[in-house]
């Protein structure tokens, strides 16, 4: 049994920022990460991070309030406006802090941080480092964590929470290198495990972005909020769904259909390719459905050729490498085949703007959490911002929680830790004993295709009902799974099978939320309910886990007050 005051699950930007904050306040903090933190999915972010620095000559009138308005409008008015205001206020100091810690942002001639235009933003406010902003931010925070000697347990797959009298008191983890389970007892836990993109077969996300961290909280009784809102990025590579940053269009790239048209003129004439992601993704999909995909197929072109080799080399070098390596196309000479691809989980563990969840001692930050600052549709450049702003705030909240006596915990955690450890061990033993059982990867394959086909860009009741039935039948098959390989170090079969149990529940939360929300808002587009319905649905959904069936759905009001909901037009 290992003890720390604070355990952070996840070593991406949000987890690292939380860990650095707590360590700075003298807290004994440990970060548990499934990979070396420098390999986290935060590092795959490309285009940039938003803050109203007003550095761009065309953006000198920019303010945090305008950033807040764009974010709320982009969210189709579902974001909590107090939280958005907080994030946009915190943004400039958060960027300067990362810069002071060494983040290599691209620069203007006068030495200030460069900013590019992004979708749905009234001003160019996306700070960037070429097209590798996530990689640069992530390595900067890894460096700061090393500098501060934050304790990092690498390659730990966290399986479950330790809960004592309704309070979170630690986690159980599988040490992938040593090959055994261990209980980590703590006074507080922050979950920062990223999104659930891998519940879809067509995702830009890393293979470890399974949503399992959110599932742990969900299984422990904490609701998942707004899970029906799934962002499809307009431009994933056609054959692999690997991300082509929105920065391509920010730098001037075109979207082109089979007729050679810049078809965005039909859907968002005033902003064209820089429409927010939900609108751009639907526009592309509409072109494809109406037969104007390239050669009648299910992709269109992202055309960067007119930008020229020099601009591409300077501003989008990573994009060029990815297109060449993974699609066999050089964007300097040829248009790039792209297709909208699952990209971001707007929903997540229900938290307030300090990362506080319904369970004392349990906090969440980053993509696995839902504050909500993204509402029904996240603007590009706001997810990196969310990680460092709310990672820091969650770290700070834990410091205050511990200073205040940690919620007055009374019961010792050791017995519960032993129990939790035994429960995980029993679960694995059961999986290992199921001789010639079902192959977990059959279930996984059916799940991710169901999510893609039945809960995609356009949704409709009958199709979603079929999807829910399918997911429930897959869930019923879980007990029949047998591991192919038991015990030992780096047991991928065990990790991936345990992950599947969490993924299916997260997928069901998405599915049921989507089915019940009888309106279209942001990324949630229903062909049978094509309009936004503020009268009934200007509210968050909360999915509550039920082990014996689909989740129960509750609702929660949206924090309004700054910006009156209007029709969303671009």
């Amino acid at each position: 049994m290992i003890r720390h005051q604070l355990v952070v699950v996840g070593g991406g930007l949000a987890g690292l920022r939380a860990g650095v904050e707590a360590k700075g306040a003298g807290i004994d903090v440990a970060i548990l990460s499934q990979v070396h933190p420098g390999r986290s999915h935060s590092g795959a972010a490309q285009g940039g991070i938003n803050a109203a620095l007003a550095n761009n000559p065309e953006g000198h009138d920019d303010t945090p309030e305008k950033h807040a308005f764009d974010t709320v409008k982009g969210s189709d008015y579902l974001a909590d406006q107090d939280a958005v205001y907080q994030m946009t206020q915190d943004a400039p100091p958060a960027i300067f802090e990362m810069e002071h810690w060494g983040c290599p942002f691209s620069r203007y001639d006068d030495g200030r941080i460069a900013q590019r235009p992004f979708g749905g933003a009234g001003f160019p406010r996306t700070c960037y480092g070429a097209d590798k902003t996530g990689h640069y931010l992530l390595h900067t925070l890894v460096e700061q964590a090393y500098r501060r000697q934050v304790r990092i347990y690498m390659e730990q797959f966290v399986t479950s929470l330790i809960v004592v009298d309704g309070q979170c008191r630690g986690v159980v983890a599988y040490d992938m290198i040593r090959g055994g389970f261990e209980a980590f007892v703590a006074d507080a836990v922050i979950i920062a495990t990223g999104g659930a993109g891998r519940t879809y077969s067509n995702t830009t996300n890393a293979i470890i972005s399974t949503g399992y961290g959110a599932a742990m909280a969900y299984h422990a009784g904490v609701p998942l909020k707004d899970m029906e809102f799934v962002q499809f990025h307009p431009t994933g590579l056609y054959t692999t769904n690997i991300l082509m940053t929105e920065g391509c269009r920010g730098e001037g790239a075109y979207l082109i259909n089979d007729l050679g048209e810049r078809f965005m003129a039909r859907y968002a004439p005033s902003v064209m390719e820089l429409a927010p992601r939900d609108i751009a993704a639907r526009s592309i999909w509409t072109e494809i459905l109406e037969g104007r995909g390239i050669g009648g197929k299910d992709f269109v072109y992202l055309d960067l050729r007119h930008l020229g080799e020099q601009k591409i080399a300077e501003k989008l070098p990573g994009i060029r490498d990815l297109a060449i390596h993974f699609e066999g196309v050089d964007p300097v000479t040829d248009p790039v085949p792209i297709v909208p691809s699952q990209h971001y989980t707007m929903g997540g563990i229900d938290t307030d703007r300090d990362g506080v969840t319904r369970m004392p001692g349990l906090y969440a930050a980053g993509e696995c959490a839902c504050v909500s600052v993204h509402g029904a549709n996240r603007l590009g450049g706001n997810s990196l911002l969310e990680t460092i702003v709310f990672g820091r705030r969650a770290g700070k909240a834990v410091v205050e929680f511990l200073a205040g006596g940690g919620g007055g915990r009374a019961a010792p955690a050791a017995a519960a830790a032993v129990e939790a450890l035994a429960a995980v061990q029993a679960r694995v033993d059961r999986l290992s004993r199921t001789a010639a059982g079902e192959n977990a990867y059959d279930i996984r394959a059916e799940m991710i295709d169901t999510m893609k086909l039945n809960f995609g860009i356009f949704r409709e009741a009958r199709q979603m009902q079929e999807g829910i039935d399918k997911l429930l039948s897959l869930k019923a098959r879980l007990p029949g799974i047998g591991l192919r390989h038991a015990g030992g170090a780096f047991n991928l079969d065990m990790i991936r099978t345990i992950e599947l149990e969490g993924m299916l529940d997260v997928a069901l939360a998405t599915a049921v939320g989507a089915f019940k929300r009888t309106e279209s808002r942001g990324s949630h587009a229903r062909t049978d309910y094509p309009n936004r319905d503020d009268e009934h649905w200007l509210e968050h959904t909360l999915a509550l886990y039920r082990s014996d069936g689909p989740p129960e759905l509750d609702v929660k009001p949206v924090a309004l007050g700054m910006f009156e909901p209007q029709e969303r037009k671009y």
Binding site: V35, H36, G38, R39, S40, H41, G43, A44, P92, P93, I95, F96, E97, E99, H100, W101, G102, P104, F105, S106, R107, Y108, D109, D110, G111, R112, I113, G129, A130, K132, H135, Y136, H139, E143, Q144, Y146, R147, I177, G179, A206, I207, I208, T239, T240, I242, D321, L322, H325, F326, N439, Y441, L483, R484, H485, G488, A489, F490, N491, L492, D493
Partner: protein, 240 residues
């Protein structure tokens, strides 16, 4: 439907006495990366196969391996681009092994930490604005900041094979990344950690690291720059 034959080096130090090679035939349509091939084997043929993975887009550095005798990222390696015949997959050589294709990176990251890979400044800065940096100064960082810490260069370096305390190309490239940053003011803080018997003088410009790097970076160049800085300090007492 096409087929690829994988020949994979297997070894579990906990239970095996010696390494062996297992052969698997992987059916596929369209393209197949080595990483996709490994997943197909792990899911359908041998659940005990171990390997690292994460982003599958060549940015995280997890899946560095030795494929057909060359350092590559499994996710970035398309089977169709390899010469006809078996796809031979081995862990990065000259590193301790955890299992199968998973190397022990403990020393690698300890050396990374040793060179103080973080921005050091003794001058206070205005918290409400950035430390200015010209585009020209920023361009000096272009090469070293793209390092994904995959370990290919480190595994490929004969000087690392011969001297286990040598910091190796990746850690030194990281030192270079900060030493050439116009914002860094480390002066005496970082230099002693590469200007010593573990540091730059053990690089004999064999340049294996340049060939091994899947991001086409040039650690040798960075190490020679550091060597120049270290020698100048020794000869003339000058810093930077």
């Amino acid at each position: 439907m096409s087929e690829a034959r994988f020949r994979i080096k297997r070894f579990d130090p906990a239970s095996d006495t010696a390494p062996r090679y297992d052969t698997f035939v992987v059916p596929y349509e369209g393209n197949l990366t080595v990483l996709e091939g490994l997943f197909s084997i792990q899911e359908r043929q041998d659940g005990s196969l171990s390997f690292r993975y994460c982003c599958r887009a060549a940015v995280c550095g997890s899946c560095a391996m030795y494929i057909n005798g060359r350092y590559r990222l499994a996710c970035q390696t398309n089977v169709s681009q390899l010469p006809a015949g078996d796809v031979t997959v081995e862990p990065m050589p000259h590193l301790p092994l955890v299992r199968d294709l998973v190397c022990d990176m403990t020393d690698f990251f300890a050396k990374y930490e040793y060179i103080k890979p973080w921005l050091i400044r003794d001058e206070a800065h205005d918290p409400e604005r950035e430390i200015p940096q010209s585009p020209k100064a920023r361009r000096k960082l272009d090469m070293p900041i793209d390092c994904i810490l995959c370990g290919c260069c480190y595994s490929s370096c004969p000087s690392v094979w011969g001297e286990e305390n040598y910091l190796g190309p990746a850690a030194l490239l990281k030192a270079y990344r900060f030493e050439v940053d116009s914002r860094d003011q480390a002066r005496r803080e970082r230099l002693p950690n590469f200007d010593n018997e573990r540091g730059v003088y053990r690089c004999h410009t064999i340049t294996n690291c340049m060939e091994a790097c899947p991001k086409e970076l040039n650690p040798t160049e960075g190490i020679q720059w550091l060597k120049g800085a270290a020698v100048r300090r020794r000869l003339f007492g000058r810093l930077k």
